[in-house]
């Protein structure tokens, strides 16, 4: 389904998202694949039980065999029969900074992935298509690294306290003022861990008697935060504004389930870029709905901050909206800033409230000083305040890389999900065997990718996910594309039935954004 929306003036630029449906033959073959794997899984389990084959899984001790079992073996079926076979595509140990190229420790397995041994060799210069390094700040040399090293020698590595006690450094205050200025909000607060930011702050904002409307494909941190809060959770279809509006209307008309009292608060949880689909939230419509039905919006910009928008201010700037419309702007420093941690930005009263009531502010250790300095330097670089145009160049390079890579992949005939402008590119693999094969073949050709399958994705939508970076040069992308095309021919991955009409290829420069503004 191809959406190109120019929705009544709400969108200032075409919103082009594409989620091509699975071809029927491919779906049937995928089920056959899982069926065969299941049959073999049962056969192997039978052989393991009758001691024809050695069982390498963890089992209880002989003395405890008659006790009530701690775990049900069937729950481990997928793990031991499917995941173990292709386990070498995950948890790969890297031993250098995860920039555009990365070094990986080679490991081999003599018993079909049950145990790994390191050969001692280090595979050097693997093109890194899996790290969330959108603006290329994961470097081991450069201004950010020098500043961080200086702060490390001055403040040390650990803070040894929480924000509320003795862990509130002047660096943290400086960071928060900078983040607030960057986002265009009144005030911001930074936390040590992006996951903890979501899961610990949503319970502080909503509680029992409130309603959370969360997108189908929200990240686990948002889901955990929503569940911990004790509010009622209703899920709307991914990026589907009709579904959201229906839920809002029902909520306001019918109120709370049994008592019919009005909800205390309605909070809409969405993400800027969904990392598994590569889709961008329909923010103008969400904000219009939020204003119409008087609810609150919590926007998680983990992947979109720094990666979208002409100056890298995120999805709000990408759509040309005002940051005051979003009540809680959350994001992480892990992806585009090359550091760790998360932040929440919003009105001053909200942030002051969170400083006292959020679990992560009160109990979790604050950010480490060199990490804070890395964020400060990289953010100033993006904003252009360090006196160079490096930041702007990186943002533009990322946008150019995104457009180029996506267009080339579509022209080759792969099925790619997501919005044209999102730097997260999921390439569909579908069949379980191709997941393992793709990961291994790409590693043989010196390209590191992330692959995901069932049950992390729906059963017929296994994919490989590429994360583009401003640090990727055109040569690296061309090499990667050549190898992807080769592997695609080898594994027959070019399923797409849309033939792309080649557009006039204009060079991507500053004026491209200005042209589409009203």
């Amino acid at each position: 389904i191809n959406h190109i929306v120019h929705n009544g003036g709400l969108y200032k630029r075409p919103f082009n998202e594409d989620f091509e449906e699975t071809p029927m033959l491919v779906a049937v073959l995928t089920y056959v694949g899982y069926g065969v794997l299941t049959l073999f899984g049962y056969l192997r389990d039978f052989m393991r039980q009758w001691k024809i084959e050695k069982c390498q899984n963890a089992t209880e001790r002989e003395e405890q065999k008659d006790f009530v079992p701690l775990y049900q073996d069937f729950e481990n079926f997928y793990n031991r029969n499917l995941y173990m076979r292709i386990r070498d595509s995950w948890n790969r140990p890297i031993c250098s900074v995860p920039g555009a190229k990365v070094d990986m420790m080679e490991r081999i397995s003599h018993d079909y992935n049950w145990t790994f041994t390191y050969t001692g060799r280090v595979i050097k210069d693997i093109i890194n298509m899996g790290s969330y390094n959108y603006l290329g700040f994961a470097q081991k040399a450069g201004t950010c690294q020098e500043a961080a090293a200086k702060v490390l020698s001055q403040y040390g590595a650990g803070v040894c306290s929480t924000r509320q006690e003795m862990g509130n450094l002047d660096k943290h205050e400086e960071l928060e003022k900078l983040v607030a200025r960057f986002l265009g909000v009144e005030s911001a607060m930074a936390y040590g861990m992006g996951f903890a930011t979501n899961s610990m702050n949503i319970p502080a904002l909503v509680g029992k008697g409130c309603l959370i409307l969360s997108d189908e494909l929200n990240h686990a941190s948002l889901v955990l935060g929503a569940r911990l809060s004790g509010a009622t959770i209703r899920i709307f279809k991914h990026n589907n504004m009709q579904s959201l509006e229906k839920l809002l209307k029902d909520a306001i008309v019918h109120g709370q389930p049994r008592t019919r009292r009005p909800w205390k608060k309605i909070l809409i949880l969405v993400e800027g870029i969904y990392s598994m689909e590569g889709s961008i939230v329909r923010l103008p419509e969400v904000i219009a709905l939020k204003k119409k039905y008087k609810s609150y919006l919590y926007l998680d910009e983990a992947h979109s901050i720094g990666a979208l928008g002409p100056t890298g201010r995120g999805v709000v700037e990408y759509f040309g909206l005002s940051p005051e419309d979003v009540d809680v702007m959350m994001g992480t420093f892990t992806k585009s800033f090359g550091a760790a941690g998360g932040y929440i930005g919003g009105k001053k009263e909200l942030i002051d409230y969170l400083r006292t009531y959020s679990h992560s502010a009160v109990y979790a250790t604050s950010l480490s000083p060199p990490v804070v300095e890395q964020i400060i330097t990289s953010m100033k670089c993006i904003m252009g305040e360090d006196g160079t145009t490096v930041g702007k160049a990186r943002v533009q390079q990322l946008a150019e890389n995104t457009r180029y890579f996506r267009r080339r992949l579509k022209e080759m005939g792969f099925i790619i999900y997501g919005n044209e402008d999102s730097p997260v590119v999921p390439l569909m693999l579908y069949m379980p065997a191709k997941i393992g094969a793709f990961g291994r073949e790409m590693l043989k050709r010196n390209i590191g990718v992330v692959v995901v399958g069932f049950p992390a994705t729906p059963i017929i939508e296994s994919r490989a996910r590429f994360c583009l970076s401003a640090a990727h040069t055109k040569e690296m992308l061309d090499t990667a594309l050549k190898e992807i095309s080769e592997v695609g021919d080898l594994l027959q991955l070019k399923y797409s039935r849309h033939r792309l009409v080649p557009l006039l290829d204009r060079p991507f420069d500053e004026t491209t954004y200005e042209e589409t503004e009203d």
Binding site: E21, T22, M24, A27, V28, T30, Y31, V32, G35, T38, Q72, F74, E75, N76, F77, Y78, N79, S214, E216, L217, N218, A220, V223, I235, Y274, S275, M276, E277, V452, F454, P455, A456, T457, P458, I459, I460
Partner: protein
Amino acid sequence: MNVGVAHSEVNPNTRVMNSRGIWLAYVISVGVLHVVLLSIPFFSVPVVWTLTNVIHNLVMYLLLHTVKGTPFETPDQGKDRLLTHWEQIDYGTQCTSSRKFLSISPVVLYLLTSFYTKYDPAHFLINTASLLSVLLPKLPQFHGVRVFGINKY
């Protein structure tokens, strides 16, 4: 396995029967079974149809009404561990479209089988018993029922 998953579906098993192409895959696999049985030289056509019906119902009973739980860990701490796959479909909502499809397909197969066995009494008994064994557990009244405590834990 909500850890590391990209959706907020608590139990992906509930959605498998609604996925794209699975009904077609099911019909094709019954067809393949039938063709394989037809290619065995000793069986006559009525015997082959009865065998198809019986094997189909047996496998369906095994997969949908005997095997319990999920082959992967779910984040709800095993709420569905004692439920068979049929009971897990759509989180227990009755009369959804995949439940209707899976209830009607043994009946269609039964009608075809009765025609091709020329309504012979012996075949009729076997086929009807087999059909009942696979239709009764699908009734909404039998949701979660374990007769004589068989297959309870």
